[in-house]
């Protein structure tokens, strides 16, 4: 049983305040959707929690099972059980997918996985996400299509088994088939009930495949409304306009 607690989090980028006091608690077994218009600070929340150097924390706390993540380096946060599926995974020339995944699994588990077990897990993970076996030998994200990058992010999610997963617009740029495959991956991951998911999205479409327990509306760098899955339906029909006006 794990808990991610975000308390009054304030974040700036180059002296410009983006997050203005975010409060949110995600527990194992829960899926929280964060929705909001472009520029509302959704991605800033994701990257600030993960520790991207571009973001400066100006106030607040982020605790994972009581441990202050903000005191840890990026890799320590990941090893503490945090995972960020990125909206735009970078291409890393010359580093193969299999080398990268084995290095990551070794780092997270604290020891090198048994080769046979790793190969088996990798194959079944790739199969279920309809990723071609040849991918393992390719350079990390290099020449991957948008959909391939996102499926590869979810493959990592399933292999690394974090306590809390933050998914930053994993649905963006996906066609319906790819969205279904990716959503099934997320659902497999949360089916254990031992993990929490914070799903950041602009559109309600993915929420038809990945049902959230809570929906939070983000505008102007803070959460402006909260509710259950029904709130997503309201946003679908009414849009974000009322919130952007209110926060402006």
């Amino acid at each position: 049983m794990s808990t991610l607690e975000i308390r009054d989090l304030k974040v700036a980028v180059e002296d410009k305040e983006i997050l203005r006091g975010v409060n949110l608690t995600v527990k194992s077994g829960q899926t929280h959707a964060i929705m909001g218009p472009n520029g509302s600070g959704k991605s800033t929340l994701a990257y600030a929690i993960a520790g991207h150097p571009k973001y400066t924390i100006t106030g607040g706390e982020v605790l994972l099972d009581g441990v202050d993540l903000l005191e840890l380096s990026v890799d320590e946060r990941a090893r503490a059980g945090l995972f960020l599926a990125m909206q735009y995974p970078v291409e890393v020339p010359g580093v193969s997918v299999s080398n990268f995944l084995r290095s990551a699994v070794t780092a997270i588990q604290g020891e090198a996985p048994k080769l046979r077990q790793f190969a088996k897990d990798l194959k079944s993970g790739m199969d279920s996400l309809a990723i071609d076996a040849a991918f393992a030998q390719r350079n990390l994200n290099e020449g991957f299509s948008g959909g391939e990058k996102k499926r590869h992010e979810i493959l990592q999610l399933e292999l690394l088994k974090p306590k809390i997963a933050v998914l930053d617009e994993t649905d963006s740029g996906l066609d319906v088939d790819a969205l279904r495959v990716v959503s099934e991956g997320i659902n497999r991951f949360r089916a254990t009930g031992e993990t929490g998911v914070l799903l950041i999205t602009h559109y309600t479409r993915i929420l038809r495949y990945v049902k959230p327990d809570f929906v939070h509306v983000f505008a102007g760098g803070r959460i402006v409304e909260e509710g259950g899955a029904e709130l997503a339906d309201k946003l679908e029909s009414e849009g974000y306009e009322q919130y952007t006006k209110a926060s402006a």
């Binding site: 090893r79 010359g94 290095s103």
Partner: protein, 374 residues
Amino acid sequence: MGLNEKPLSTLHEKASYDLADFAVPTGREEAWRFTPLSRLKGLHNGKAEVTGQALTQVTTPAGVTAEWVGRGDPRIGQAYVPADRVSAQAYSAFEKALVVTVPKEATPDEPIRVEVRGGGLDGATYGHVVVKVGPLAEAVVIIEHQGSAVYADNVEFVVGDGATLKVVSLQDWEDDAVHVSHHHAQLAKDATFRSFVATLGGDLVRLAPSVSYTAPGGDADLSGLYFVDAGQHLEHRLLVDHSQPNCKSNVDYRGALQGERAHAVWIGDVIIRVEAEGTDTYELNRNLILTDGARADSVPNLEILTGEVAGAGHASASGRLDDEHIFYLQARGIPYDQARRLVIKGFLGQLIEKIQVDEIRERVLGAVEAELAR
């Protein structure tokens, strides 16, 4: 058609066997402005005593001959004419030249090995090597430099019609060595030349690989890797002279630099002459600057004198490690130092993969890993 028979490019004005044709460089010349002359130990101004202790040994597989010959041998200087002062100095001062001959259609199954081992910094040593590959033959040459030396040499590769020559040159000197070298490949009709240069050691290494073509259909690929540590000056000067139609060339040099006054210089020059229609060429240099205090100078040049080219391009990029790469790997739990090593190894590894001799590929990979562990 050698380099001496035509007006050369703006960057390579002169070629001569005669040392007197080259003035002592002052450091202001385009060809010398990046090189710290005071560290050349007299190779450039005639003050180096020819009392050096560098020893060259050669191992040849069955069917390949190696001879030590005097300077009167007609095979010397057939393909290459010295193009700068130190090259001419080496040409005028070597005692015996090594001539390696791969006969027509021979395909030796082992590499030819030339090992140059330096025995100290007292005095300079000059060398000259000719590798002649007969028509339709296929051979691999490994040249290794080790130890401490003040060494200047010229190496001629003469690749016959339809022949293939692959060369790996490893500059694995001790940190005090000084080495100035020209590697010239002359490609006959449909000849293939693959060069891989790895420069890791030495206080000052200045290596100038060049290629010329005597007939159409030649194909040259020049790859290079260097890892520059504090205080080292590692310089590579490439010249590909397209004077024949329908030839190809590809240049890809990559380096990593770390430490105070680590200095890399890369000068690339591709000339496409009027008669070289259908030329396909690309040159690339990339530098990864890992710490403050390191400096990379990278100058790609392309001199195109004909409008009828199949392709001609160049690129140069020097920069620091990409924070986004490191962040991505760290976000998957991989500690910073390991993430950094993975990214650097990836950057150089794509080149290392091109080394077609397993043993050398493993050694270069091992050497890069050792550099990264420093």
